[in-house]
């Protein structure tokens, strides 16, 4: 079942912060976050694993609540380059990802 992302879209000014949420009804092994710019491939941001391990970019922060099967991606001091569509992919095992519908982020100058 597809995870639910919120909000669907958000507009920020440079320097503002944003939080993108991802919620699943299934017990998860990991949550993956990707950013996709128009016409380009998804780019890896972070993986959060059950048990607390994280892999990803130092400038990106995220959390994973294993009890609630929820993850949040924190974008601080946003830059124009942060614009794009953010997808969470949830995994119950075996590296099989189910992606959410995406959150469109637009950062304005």
């Amino acid at each position: 079942q597809q995870p639910v992302q919120s909000p669907q879209a958000v507009i920020l000014r440079e320097g503002e912060d944003a939080v993108i949420n991802c919620s699943s009804s299934k017990a998860l092994y990991s949550v993956h976050w990707y950013r996709q710019k128009h016409g380009e491939a998804p780019v890896f941001l972070m993986i959060l694993l059950k048990g607390g391990e994280q892999k990803g970019h130092e400038k990106i922060s995220a959390s994973f609540n294993e009890k609630k099967q929820q993850s949040s991606l924190y974008l601080t001091a946003s830059q124009l380059s942060y614009s794009g569509t953010y997808f969470c992919g949830t995994e119950t095992g075996g590296n099989k990802l189910v992606f959410g519908a995406g959150t469109i982020l637009r950062v304005k100058s």
């Binding site: 491939a41 590296n95 995406g102």
Partner: protein, 116 residues
Amino acid sequence: EAGVAQSPRYKIIEKRQSVAFWCNPISGHATLYWYQQILGQGPKLLIQFQNNGVVDDSQLPKDRFSAERLKGVDSTLKIQPAKLEDSAVYLCASSLVSSGGGDEQFFGPGTRLTVL
């Protein structure tokens, strides 16, 4: 390190025609994935290979879609015959470790298919 390669980048066909997409994963990556991404939606997994074996193809419309990874390296995805609703971007991804989970997937640039 070279990334995931895909070709062609764009393809326009008439409905009922056939089409094939090619993917070459990052060297040494055991797992290869094909995703379908319809405009405005997240990628949807079609098939997952581990080396040259199929791990999951539960969402592959097998009456018209087929995929192979004969030597455990590059892969081909075929649609025959195509329908209008197959218009989408077909993304290929690969990952290094094939078992367990929590592995980063590296995506190729995709093939944008338009079915008229």
